[in-house]
């Protein structure tokens, strides 16, 4: 990988002067401070979710809270909403990623295929959508008035299903695969869909993994279309659950359902924090394993265009 060679470029610092030592020090300080700044907000919400509500109320958000408690999670997990929202987010992410990778890679394969005379036209059709968008108004009318998708999960999955950027990323990858493979398979009598699904897809695993991860991150974090098109609480994904908890909602009813009526002290702040944590939890868990794919995606994407 090209970006790795940067790490291994060895330049031995010879006769380090004072200014160079200072530079060296400031380099470490800068990187360390920036890392800290990037992690502190994570610590703030994670530790906050384990803080007793009373402590949150009196102390506010704190890096070192006085009293630790699991109450927020107990309250959150005793209700239905968090499970419903989790289910919705997972459905959106899985279905969205699958469909998106499928139609994007099929299109990219055709755009990269030398047999196709009109691949320029196809590329233009894709490219033009990046230059001149339909705009929010037309899009809203399409989804609500023409397709009648309001209050369905499809209204969250379908917008942005086909990513032009991802398509071009895949096109450039497919072009690096020797065309002889395609020719040989055709001579052996393989059909086009066989060539694509059985030959190209397996050797394109790296780019499919990269695009798939970018797409699934987008779906996991999707909230705009959900905010625009979904009102029903049983269709709320996790992101909208966080937004709802931050608005002036009856927390007990929203989290635990209407028929529950235990008079307890509702840990309103703690529940918000706990919901944020269960939302980002899966991302943090897989982060060490998937980081390299995102690095690769950014690197290829930028070098290409």
């Amino acid at each position: 990988m090209p970006y790795k060679s940067a790490f291994t470029t060895k330049r031995i610092a010879e006769d380090a002067t004072i200014s160079e030592k200072l530079f060296h020090l400031s380099m470490y300080v800068w990187v360390m401070l920036l890392s800290l700044i990037c992690v502190i907000p994570f610590w703030l919400v994670v530790i906050g979710s384990f803080t007793a509500e009373g402590s949150l109320r009196s102390q506010g958000f704190s890096l070192f809270p006085q009293e630790i408690s699991l109450n927020s999670y107990r309250f959150l997990l005793s209700g239905e909403q968090v499970f419903v929202s989790y289910k919705n987010t997972i459905i959106i992410t899985v279905v969205g990623t699958f469909l998106s990778v499928l139609i994007t890679s099929m299109m990219a394969y055709v755009m990269a295929n030398r047999k196709i005379k009109y691949r320029g036209v196809l590329s233009f059709i894709v490219y033009f959508t990046m230059l001149f968008g339909p705009g929010l108004v037309g899009f809203y009318i399409l989804v609500v008035n023409w397709l009648h998708l309001k209050d369905t999960l499809w209204a969250i999955i379908l917008p942005g299903l086909f990513g032009p950027w991802n398509a071009f990323l895949m096109v450039s990858y497919f072009r690096t695969i020797p065309y002889e493979i395609n020719e040989a398979a055709t001579i052996d009598g393989a059909s086009e869909s066989y060539i694509f699904f059985r030959i190209y897809m397996p050797i394109s695993k790296p780019v499919i993994a990269t695009v798939g991860l970018f797409v699934s991150l987008r779906y996991w974090n999707e909230w705009f279309y959900a905010m625009l098109f979904v009102d029903k609480e049983e269709l709320h994904p996790l992101q909208i659950m966080i937004r709802s908890l931050m608005s002036n909602i009856d927390v007990q009813r929203y989290v635990q359902g209407t028929d529950v009526n235990i008079v307890t002290n509702v840990p309103a702040m703690g529940v918000q924090l706990a919901t944020v944590c269960v939302t980002i939890g899966p991302i943090l868990l897989v982060y060490p394993y998937v980081q390299k794919y995102f690095v690769k995606g950014l690197t290829i994407g930028s070098i290409k265009g």
């Binding site: 090209p2 970006y3 060679s5 790490f7 470029t9 330049r11 610092a13 530079f23 380099m27 990187v31 920036l34 990037c38 992690v39 703030l44 919400v45 506010g60 958000f61 704190s62 099929m106 299109m107 055709v110 295929n113 196709i116 894709v126 490219y127 959508t129 230059l131 968008g133 339909p134 705009g135 929010l136 108004v137 037309g138 899009f139 809203y140 009318i141 399409l142 023409w146 917008p159 086909f162 086009e192 869909s193 974090n221 909230w223 705009f224 992101q239 966080i242 937004r243 931050m246 702040m269 944020v276 980002i280 982060y287 060490p288 980081q291 995102f294 690095v295 690197t299 930028s302 070098i303």
Partner: protein
């Protein structure tokens, strides 16, 4: 001509079938809604639909441009994007250069992972973290300020701080990704340059200044131009999820996209007029930028 097209499609019918789902998708979700721009020239009523509504010409454009507020939202959009491009680029380059120079591999790996982490958050989660930091009563920053003996600031009621706050958030979320891109560009620099510079007696600072930075220039120019191409599009996700409906902050944070979104509730047609204006300005911007990149470097132009 037509028969040749039909022949071509017939010959490769199986391939065109593979492209069909994406084509249908694009037509339905990207091309059909473009008719929505027509609403800008009509008095849209949901009951009468797009075609039934009455034509009113440029009325909604007059309304938008007569009111001075169009200057506010346009200025905010351009200014906030400019701040993000400027500071985002500088921070990403500095961070990339430093990460590239650091020899302590474990330290570099861990810090790079930390710096990249905010990239993975949704704006909703970021908005909550910002609230945890800036909330007037409970926020960490105000807690620290009061402990230091100064009065806390009611951040959510003080528009003057928000260009800085928004830029900080954007840099915080984007610096990792930016640094990764610049690191990749740096890895393309041949080690021989540094070798010969060292023989000539250049120290590391000088090597950075005279080799690394000049050779990063094409990447910087490309990425900046690309960002400038989108300068008429505000960062809706960030601004709406953090500022939302807080009108106190509108003077410095309301951008075209948030203005349009709120307009959607009252009047589709005037929103559509602003969207059309934005799309046209965006198109002009991208074409200009592409023309400029072509002059600078033919291979890296967009088309």
């Amino acid at each position: 001509m037509l028969t040749r097209s039909i022949q071509e499609i017939r010959r490769n019918i199986h391939l065109y079938l593979l492209a069909l789902p994406a084509l249908i998708y694009l037509i339905v979700f990207a091309y059909v809604p473009m008719f929505g721009h027509l609403i800008a020239f009509k008095n849209f009523r949901p009951t009468e639909g797009l075609w039934g509504s009455e034509w009113v010409g440029f009325k909604h454009f007059y309304f938008f441009f007569l009111n001075d507020y169009w200057i506010t939202v346009t200025w905010n959009t351009l200014y906030l994007n400019f701040l993000n491009i400027f500071f985002g680029t500088i921070f990403a380059i500095i961070t990339a250069v430093f990460l590239n120079e650091i020899r302590f591999v474990l330290f570099k790996k861990i810090s790079q992972s930390f710096i990249f982490l905010p990239f993975f958050l949704s704006w909703v989660v970021v908005a909550y973290m910002v609230f945890a930091l800036l909330s007037t009563r409970d926020g960490l920053i105000n807690n620290v300020l009061t402990q230091l003996g100064t009065d806390g600031v009611s951040w959510y009621a003080s528009p003057q701080y928000w260009p800085a706050i928004i830029t900080t958030i954007q840099v915080w979320k984007g610096v990792g990704a930016g640094a990764i891109i610049y690191l990749a560009a740096m890895s393309g620099i041949s080690g021989e340059y540094y070798e010969s510079a060292r023989i000539d007696g250049a120290n590391r600072l000088k090597q950075i200044w005279f080799i690394t930075l000049p050779l990063l220039r094409p990447t910087v120019i490309m990425l900046t131009l690309l960002a400038v191409g989108g300068i008429f599009y505000g960062d809706f996700g960030l601004i709406y999820s953090i500022v939302g409906e807080n009108a106190l902050l509108f003077p410095t944070t309301d951008v075209i996209d948030t203005y349009v979104y709120r307009g959607l509730r009252s009047n589709f047609s005037s929103s559509a007029a602003i969207v059309l204006w934005q799309s046209c300005m965006g198109l002009i911007c991208i074409c200009t930028v592409n023309w400029m990149t072509r002059k600078l470097d033919k291979d890296s132009s967009l088309w």
